[in-house]
Symmetry: C2
Subunit: 525 residues, 2 copies
């Protein structure tokens, strides 16, 4: 009989799962909505056990989902499922191995517990929210190889994240030859002494147990895991140049193992255009492979170097962009929304750091400025850091500890975002140099970047304004993290041009003449 | 027997074509390569003569093209053809009307005459060239309703264009209710006294004779006609809300009449997203209809208001963008290339003028600045003017005369473009704030916009540079139209960063501290 259990919370210590004993009665029969329900099925296969086809068909009578199963070593196959709705679910297995075929069971999906808001999806074209409707205000970071580090370093990374503002982590599945890979775990079975001697049809479950533990640990901290399936930083193990068949098999395996974790996002690649062995057609196929295998439709994107993938393609849920110059100016950033009509995350905009490489030496203020320009453009931005510690390690490569100045300011930014209109900021009167984001008629955020004005003419574009609206103003210092309310209110009237409204009695707002200031206008009820 | 003739040159006076007499012996038997060969076929139809299907199948043994025919009134059908290759061509007609079916003939396509470079197409992804390889350096203008003006005003427009720098004219097919339509010609047969009483299945050949004469007249001046098939400025005649069947019939008719004119480009619409009666699916279908009917594959685009069409779609040959803010900054402009990987023309960037509307009050320097920012981004820009003359007419609406300051500066710009690398300028080290366009290793153009520096650090990005290259420099005043060579040469060596080369002996170039300056570096042979 199949065993069902939840493993959420059993995080860093997880290894090979034992079949009996790990499951308790509650785990077998109940799981939270959006939680992880797991079925373990022991059997004996003839031939390669990874070749066995297995799927769990889950239904609550209204919704039926096909969750792929996978071989997890030691004679055990597993099927993981994340129920999208509360109530009773039944499942049946389908398999090419008769011992795994036609197995059945059921469980109850309970109301989600505290902190479980469900998976993140795209809402209102350009923004993100959890499945329960809670806005998701993306403040991402990247530590490519953190899952490949020794346990102590992984624990340090998680400790750092506990008090950091980040709610998304970009991370590689495959090891990165240019990053120290201190634990000798690899995703495939070795077939010889050479660094590229792999049996690409046989996975190493221990490698994926560690990866899953990391994904689960992020989930426990409320952090989305942007799982990067391919990358060009190999040059050693050959995982960047596998044949298409091996790529597809690998994608299916990763999706089968991870898609039930509600905090998983799929990034097809980092700097996809450096991977010269793959064409755009290959990426199309990989996207479609993920889409076909993942019953939940987790977020899907692809990250560029110099050449952009066509993000209009229907399998792209949002744009994941590398371009530091785009977030020097909200109008540049906004263009990516307008052209693709999808949510935009500038996942790589250069990093705060002290490297001589130009992508790794932003000052703290420059890192923070990028987020603010992105915010008022209605887009999202990602952080990382490159301050080498002993041995040359830094957050971007290995995780560990943060040494820069931006993180507290990004926490402050996040608090501003969370107090703003849900699900997010829209650019206002775009293409007309307003540098304003918000919700027309209700909320305006003006960001001044490197300008240091002594006053601002409070001219509000006419959208959703008819005159008589009253707003209060806050002067925000994005670097010193202060919010100073301006006294009184602004009562809007038509200006001498049809395009703007303002308060004739107080057409300007005094500002302190410092850089990196913002003004927030909030409608008075 | 069919009559063949050329009409190129018989321009403003053209009316209904007479069958006999208009053709001369040379016209019947010979036409220039890329010229216009026309067959006139008299017949008598039962029912609506516009419903008769007619196509000419043209072949030279290697290439076979199907040129659509059309009913031209007075019992005559015509087939127009523009031979893409020199040599002997044979044709056969296919028709639903037996009198028009199976007609045959032949002619010789001669070498093109002076000034005939063939049609313009996209080359090297982002640029344009004539079919004979001559680069086409786009300097467009717009006079939406010029073809609907009285003959004297049309002649004035052509006189103006004779000495203006413009090599493309954007123009509406349908009349524009907000523009004076002084000649009472309409594209369809009237069926009653109401302004919307049209038989949408019967065209008015006289309307199209005038339109064709205008297209031909532009062609004679070396000006491409960007023919706008639909627009939202009607509100009176109802051509903006025809049923899909009428749209398609109209598109086929216009394409049959105009596609053989080598200077025709197709613009599906102006401000397509204001046309609320059409969906993106309608635009897809209209694009595909043009593509299917036009045997030459003339350039195809669609022009936006606030919402962008997906220019990645395969039937879009280049992007035609309205966005004035994009050309305030080359990095903004460049984004449109990177996302769609197609040539970009910013056809509407606000206009030089004196209107109170914010889209019609650029100063001359602002109009010219837009072209320069666009140029170094590797894109192209369009001009127009709104200086109302008596009665409120201005160039943008009706054509006529130019009153602004930008046109001579755009002629100067064009001379700089023509002296530059073919087929056009590429952005250099994009996304890294260089504000440089050119051809790496050979030619660099730095534009300073509103900055007024007293010197420029001549730091050249490393692409195609290894050290030892020698460049001479010109200081260009884009407004005062001067080119001042700097003495001596710059000999490049690696800088103290891996990203740049410069001349250690003269790391900077003196500049006059004025706005709107540029520097050109040209490799010394």
């Amino acid at each position: 009989m199949a065993q069902g259990m939840t493993r959420r919370g059993a995080i860093l210590t997880v290894g090979a799962l034992s079949l009996a004993g790990a499951a308790n009665a509650e785990g077998q029969n109940r799981v939270e909505r959006w939680g992880l329900y797991e079925i373990a099925l022991p059997a004996t296969a003839v031939g390669n056990p990874f070749d066995v086809k297995l799927v769990g068909v889950f239904t609550n009578g209204r919704t039926t989902l096909r969750a792929p199963g996978f071989y997890d070593g030691e004679g055990v196959w597993r099927i993981r499922f994340s129920p999208p709705e509360t109530g009773a679910w039944r499942w049946t297995s389908e398999s090419s191995l008769s011992a795994l075929d036609g197995r059945q069971g059921g469980f109850e999906a309970m109301a989600p517990g505290a902190g479980n808001h469900g998976p993140v999806g795209v809402v209102e074209t350009y923004h993100f929210a959890y499945a329960d409707g809670t806005p998701y205000r993306q403040i991402g970071t990247t530590a490519y190889g953190w899952t490949h580090q020794p346990q102590a370093k992984r624990a340090q990374t998680l400790e750092t994240l506990k008090t950091a503002p980040f709610n998304k982590m970009r991370m590689l599945v495959f090891p990165n030859a240019s990053v120290k890979t201190n634990e000798a775990l690899f995703p495939f079975e070795k077939t010889g002494a050479g660094e590229k001697d792999w049996d690409l049809t046989r996975f190493n479950p221990a490698y994926f147990h560690r990866l899953e533990a990391c994904v689960a640990a992020l989930g426990a901290l409320g952090i989305e895991a942007d799982v990067i399936l391919f990358h060009p930083y190999d040059g050693r193990y050959g995982f960047d140049e596998m044949p298409a068949e091996a790529d597809d098999r690998y994608v299916r395996y990763v999706v089968a193992r991870l898609s039930a974790y509600r905090n998983v996002w799929w990034s097809m690649a980092n700097e996809f255009d450096i991977l010269k062995t793959k064409t755009d057609g290959d990426w199309d196929r990989i996207f479609q492979g993920v889409q076909a295998s993942d019953p939940y439709g987790r977020l899907r994107s692809i990250h560029n170097w110099r050449r952009l993938y066509d993000n209009c393609k229907p399998w792209v849920t949002h744009s994941s962009i590398q371009n530091g110059s785009a977030v020097l100016d909200d109008a540049r950033a906004e263009t990516y929304r307008s052209v693709w009509k999808k949510a935009v995350v500038f996942d790589e905009v250069c990093y705060e750091g002290s490297l001589s490489e130009r992508w790794g030496n932003l000052t703290g203020p420059q890192m923070v400025r990028a987020f603010w320009h992105g915010l008022i453009a209605g887009t999202y931005v990602g952080h990382s850091e490159c301050f080498p510690i002993d041995g040359g390690e830094f957050w971007l490569g290995e995780g560990g500890e943060l040494r820069g100045e931006s993180a507290p300011r990004l926490a402050f930014l996040k608090s501003i975002m969370e107090a703003g209109p849900p699900p997010g900021i829209e650019p206002i009167d775009k293409w007309w140099e307003q540098h304003l984001g918000g919700a027309p008629g209700q909320y305006y955020l003006r960001y001044f970047g490197d300008d240091a004005p002594a006053e601002w003419a409070v001219d509000i574009p006419r959208d959703e304004i008819t005159g008589g609206e009253r707003f209060r103003a806050d002067v925000i210092d994005t670097w010193n993290m202060t919010v100073e309310p301006a006294p009184g209110v602004f009562t809007l009237a038509q200006k001498d041009t049809k395009y703007f409204f303002h308060d004739p009695a107080r057409p300007t707002l005094a500002l302190p003449g410092r850089k990196w200031m913002a003004v927030r206008l909030t409608r008075v009820a």
